[in-house]
Amino acid sequence: MASSGHPLADTSEGRASFLSRLRRAVDEERFFGTLLITPMQLLLWFLLIIPTIIVIYLSLVAWEPRMGVDWWQAPFAFLRNYAQIFQDGRFWAAIGRSLGVVVAAGGLEFAVGLGLALLFMRDFPGKRIVTSVILYPMMLPWVVVGLAFYLLFLDRGPVNFVLTQWFGSGATVEWFKNPLLAMGTIVLADIWQWTPFLFLILYSGLGALPKDPVEAAMNLGANRWQIFRHVTLPMLKPVILIALVIRALEAFKIFDLVFVMTGGGPGTSTETISLYIYRVGFVFGQLSYAAAMAVLILVMITLVTRFAIQPIEEG
């Protein structure tokens, strides 16, 4: 459609005032479109492109605030920061953990969210209230969510208390001591908080689907599972993909919950990549090193986008 733009103001009306010519130009599609995206472009330049240039520069120098010089005066380190990353087991372990969260949280949230969405496709008494309740977790500050789960799963907290009531005094679980359980508890909090999001997307998507194909399949005698598997699911595919992608990318950034619940502990066993970068950059003050890690992550995510999201756009 870009080709259908209208030429600018009629040149034969050379004496038309600037204002009227501008007004006419605004009506021209291409000009109007450009005008409308300009604020966003400016903001992206300001918040994305310039910082990206800075972060790349920072990653190539050896700068820590405690050096006593400003960042542009710091000596070049070239690729030394990057070389250091490749030897930094803690970095890769943190990346691995973040990916683990993506898979575990993303997968479970999707499953639960889809289940809920299907459940909610039909009316039942109190649906509106239940919907409100389900959406509530998203609205709580994440720090408070982390706090709530930390307190619930405390060694002598309510969850363990209930366990001892049901299964005897030996039945407490040291949720935050075992690395896997600690990670699991964090993921649980994430699930609790973000399933509503997936529920919303999938529920909206299901609601927007055309009804005819389902009815047609029903008339052909397909059972519910077959309808779901062969009719609903394929139609829902684009929604599912975007939901999963968005959720996966958000989950990869997980910070608040870990920060509040375990601080990355025991040791570094629940340290995610956001937390590690935060710690390196803003606690240890190794900003150049943090910058190199940031750049590496930007590159990795861009690659993932190329290979994972491009198909969605095309499909």
Binding site: S4, H6, R24, D27, E28
Partner: protein, 363 residues
Amino acid sequence: MASVRVEGLRKAFGDTEALRGISFEVRDGEFFSLLGPPGAGKTTTLRIIAGLESPDEGRVWLGEEIVDRVHPKDRDVAMVFEDLALYPHWSAFDNIAHPLKLRKVPLGEIEERVRAIAGMLKIDHLLDRRPGTFSGGERRRVAIGRALVRRPRVLLLDQPLSDLDAKIRQEMAGELKRLQAETGQTMIYATHDYEEAVSMADRIMVIHQGQEEQTGAPQALYREPDSSFVAAFIGSPAMNFVPCKVERAGGELVLQHRAFTLSLAGEGLLSLPDEVLLGIRPEHIRIEAARTPGALPAEVDIVQVLGEEQVLDLRLEDGTTLKAIVVGGVELKAGDPLFIRLERERAFLFDQVSGRRILGPGL
């Protein structure tokens, strides 16, 4: 109000050529129809006239003005879209008044003109309601009202009646015709339904695959179709086409078909190609009870009864099927043997390759 002229319109969307050189002229006050199957380029033509698309080649005149560089909002062209495109958040009154408001017509006059057009369209009672609750016919009236209220230079109608049920469609078509007659509004009406076009338009242009097939008054198109496409498109049930060989027996030309042979009289037919299509409309096939010279034996295959008329699917001896319409008379049923006679003076010959008319009416 103005005349419209387009010349040499070409438009491609990516690889698909929507228009391949369309030219026509609509006289001031004329009801002109663009007729063609879906995808023929009707909508694109209208959109180019409105300025919603710009052609790759060609020009558009409104009256004496070339409007290529005039923005659609300034062309003073109104259009009724296929989906009507009513503003769902405004009342019918506001919908209709919108063009007037934009033209800064005084409020009193707006009120007056909207009421007048609503009266003409019999939608006075709907003015305060939003379109969401309207029936299909009501929605169309509002859309037409919105287009007409400002007396545009030309009114473009893009299949506005397409998904109405038959009865309302006929009713609306009649009203539209009356409205056009009353207002003398120049209208271009795009449709794929020949009956609509035939019943309303002063002139019709049949287009096919982005090209003009034939332009003319409805009767002319029916009586003297220039191509097998036009012949098939206009009339229902469609014209029968029977592929035949042209053979020269002595000095005489003979139309040879497995089931029949027709000798062609007349001079100057020596340039006929070897293979042609014989075209004959169902209403021009006569049924005869007994064998008379020149009559062909056939068997009734399917019978559709439409009131007084019966539409028959007939099978000739070699298996060729023809449709025929019988008015009144005996009730026929499948399997009945009978004899038919083609009205040669209403038959055509078309080129099998190009579809152009070679001969006719009358062989």
